[in-house]
């Protein structure tokens, strides 16, 4: 590529926190110091500062986009920000912390490679820091950064930083996070955000931006079991090209693993087995394709496949059942009720589901199970069992984020009411084994 600064990949991260912990200031500082802000944005910032900020530029105004937010000084929803450096392109999902904390955090973090927990150096580890870390663990975000902010207000104290790190490390072992990094910063003054701090010579680690640029995310996709949820059956209507008369392809985005021409694959729910004849893409046929590429698969046999089916590798098969266990985050004012019927959307498949059991609620600060409540309310985390009208082909969320996740949709209002993470299947799907022949 000829552009001088060509980013090599994308890092998605989320920040979450309460109104006063300096989250918006941190994002403003990242954008400002990495020179990702433009003159008209700075102009707008200065214009709004004159009205609401008492003449002082407020970096938080950069992220609080809607009128209601500026008037009330709050952030309503997930906002996305983009910036890049010569090493990487970054997508920030910025979520508010004051209300609907869990719902927003889950929404913003679901696709993240990395999550930043902001801790106010004066306050130390509080309930919110633990909640944030638990949700990151539940969602299996591979990388966590604990940014200890407002170091300027504790006299740049190394002791205070160490104390907070110790507080954190006390409860981290109970969680499932592979990579944690602690960085002392001042978002307001810019120390260790983009530029190294001269006020904290005792800190030898990277700045926040430098860590974001270098953290290894290459292995965050699942390349083990092949999974292709079929989104759309590709069958040209009146092809002028005679070679396309019998073309029948199955289009989708690979949700796990690698597929090769000549490989035997199974189709769920039918259980039939066929062989990959061609991996068709707009840019030409390829010999192999991998997660998360979008492809169109052509099979040797004329088998019946439609949207919502899944084409899978023969070894490392998914589960296939109508009775599933899952952890859910409830996202709606109307509580989850046992016996109520919902739509469950999983990959490209939507089925009816009934909540057969609420097994327990999860403590949001420890993820410890608590006695089964009669219902789950807004922002509750819980473990439930669902009975489905048709079986789904799935993996445990810990194995595969894409085939192990679902949403629940309320019938009638069509509101998205829950995000769900599936427990691993008890047994693998059975395929009929023999080749399908016409």
């Amino acid at each position: 590529m000829s552009s001088p600064s060509h980013p090599i990949d994308i890092l998605r991260f989320n920040t979450s926190g309460s109104v006063d912990d300096g989250k918006s200031t941190l994002i403003g500082r990242l954008l400002y110091d990495s020179k990702s802000l433009m003159e008209d944005q700075l102009d707008a910032l200065e214009r709004s500062a004159d009205i609401t900020g008492g003449g002082q530029i407020n970096l938080a105004n950069l992220t609080d986009g809607l009128r209601a937010e500026r008037e009330q000084g709050i952030t309503i929803d997930v906002a996305y920000r983009y910036f890049s450096t010569p090493r990487r392109e970054f997508i920030i999902a910025d979520t508010p912390g004051h209300v609907q904390y869990t719902r927003n955090m889950v929404t913003g973090a679901s696709n993240a490679n990395l999550s930043i927990v902001l801790v106010d150096a004066r306050a130390g580890v509080i309930e919110q820091s633990r909640r944030h870390t638990c949700i990151a663990s539940l969602l299996r975000i591979p990388h966590l950064v604990v940014a200890v902010n407002k170091m300027d207000l504790v006299g740049w104290s190394e002791e205070r930083f160490a104390e907070i790190r110790d507080q954190f490390e006390e409860f981290l072992p109970r969680l499932d996070i592979k990579d944690v990094k602690f960085i002392p910063i001042s978002a307001l003054l810019g120390d260790n955000v983009v530029e190294p701090s001269t006020n904290m010579p005792w800190y030898a680690g990277p700045t926040l931006l430098s860590h974001l640029e270098t953290v290894h995310i290459g292995s965050d996709w699942n390349l083990a079991g092949f999974r292709l949820p079929v989104q759309w059956v590709n069958r040209p209507n009146n092809p002028t090209d005679s070679r396309l008369h019998d073309f029948r392809g199955f289009s989708g985005q690979i949700a796990g693993g690698i597929v090769r021409v000549g490989q035997r694959v199974g189709i769920l729910p039918s259980g039939l087995v066929s062989t990959v004849k061609e991996i068709w893409t707009y840019d030409g046929s390829v010999a192999e394709a991998f997660c998360p590429q979008s492809i169109t698969l052509v099979l040797e046999h004329d088998v019946d496949v439609s949207r919502g089916n899944m084409i899978v590798g023969l070894d490392d098969r998914p589960g296939f059942t109508t009775d599933v266990q899952a952890k859910v985050c409830w996202m709606h004012q109307r509580p989850l009720q046992r016996g109520k019927r919902y739509f469950l959307k999983h990959t490209s498949h939507t089925v009816q589901a009934i909540v057969s059991e609420i097994e327990h609620r999860l403590d949001i600060e420890t993820l410890e199970p608590q006695a089964a409540p009669p219902q789950l309310g807004l922002n509750d985390l819980g473990q439930i069992r669902l009975r489905l009208a048709q079986p789904i082909a799935f993996d445990g969320y810990a194995t595969n984020r894409l085939t192990g996740s679902f949403i629940l949709i309320e019938q009638g209002t069509n509101a998205t009411v829950a995000a769900g993470m599936l427990a691993p299947p008890l047994e693998a799907a059975k395929l009929d084994g023999g080749d399908y022949a016409i």
Partner: protein, 300 residues
């Protein structure tokens, strides 16, 4: 390919193709909004990648304000024909004649009037979903919008009541009369769009490249002189070498002085730019919440 690694453009591409196919799978009568601008040019290529070798399973729709750059409409028609796609054009002029859109006294801009025109087209063809090329990096209100943006039966966006969007699971369910706007390029930046145009060798309308044009200085920007924007008494008409960075209506799109006559030049210019793309759009400057207000009323 051998190390199973996708670069940033390939990631954005597969995400967008996935969204296009979800639209084809979930909706009965989707349409794709195609203006001929750079973002919708990328959308069309992504639609080809999502649906070939089949025909595109959705028509192209354009609301013609009557204030379009002629180069843009010429390109729009030609590109649709090349792809063998069905192109539907509905004009603000016609909507005014039919009483669907009513200009306020002295209102010259067609910006507000494209909203009822679009809503009437959606009604006429019973579209349940329109794919658009909006990007979140364009503007603060857009930064908060979902890939699948739900609109009630009046076409309104309610920013406080959006469906949570988790992983890549899009809730596309609608009740009768409701509508979805879908934005596959949500995560793309201006630089991504031009890099994609470069990688895919896509043709773009000539006005994106440097050319000589008569312009006048108004509200801090160079506006193209034409029948709709005649010079006012005392205004100095200049012949400058300019290009457009973003294309809106001819009466509100500022030209920038630029020698960029290749995509490489444009990318270099963006990398060095000190104002955002929409900084040259007068329609966004009307107030701090200009875009938010228009979106709530049914705009893209």
């Amino acid at each position: 390919m051998s190390n199973y690694h996708l670069d940033h453009l390939q990631h954005l591409e597969t995400e967008a193709i996935h969204i296009m196919r979800e639209v084809a799978g979930e909706f009965e009568r989707p349409a794709l909004l195609f203006s001929g601008g750079k973002d919708s040019i990328c959308l069309l290529r992504l639609a080809e990648k999502a649906f070939r070798p089949s025909d595109l399973p959705l028509p192209l729709l354009n609301v013609d304000t009557g204030h379009h750059f002629p180069e843009l409409n010429e390109f729009r028609d030609r590109r649709a024909q090349q792809l063998g796609a069905k192109l539907i054009v509905r004009t603000v002029e016609d909507a005014i004649a039919k009483g669907i859109a009513t200009p306020s006294p002295g209102e010259i801009s067609r910006n507000r009037l494209q909203i009822p025109t679009l809503l009437a087209a959606i009604e006429e063809f019973q579209f349940d979903c329109c794919i658009g090329g909006a990007r979140r990096d364009e503007e603060k209100a857009r930064a908060k919008e979902r890939f699948f943006s739900f609109r009630d039966s009046f076409g309104q966006w309610d920013p406080k009541n959006q469906r949570p969007e988790i992983w890549n699971l899009y809730n596309a369910r609608l009740n009768p009369g409701e509508n979805m706007r879908v934005f596959p390029l949500s995560n793309w930046t201006e630089t991504d769009v031009w890099e994609y145009i470069q990688r895919e060798r896509l043709e773009v309308p000539s006005i994106y490249f440097s050319h000589r044009r008569a312009v006048v200085r108004r509200h801090g920007q160079w506006l193209p002189v034409n029948d709709l924007v005649p010079p006012k008494p005392g205004e100095d008409v200049r012949e400058l070498v300019v290009r457009v960075r973003t294309i809106g209506d001819i009466i509100s799109t500022g030209c920038i002085e630029s020698p960029a006559d290749s995509i490489e030049d444009i990318l270099a210019e963006i990398a060095a730019a000190r104002v955002t793309e929409r900084g040259s759009r007068a329609d966004d400057k009307a107030s701090e919440a200009a875009m938010e207000d228009r979106k709530k009323a049914g705009y893209f």
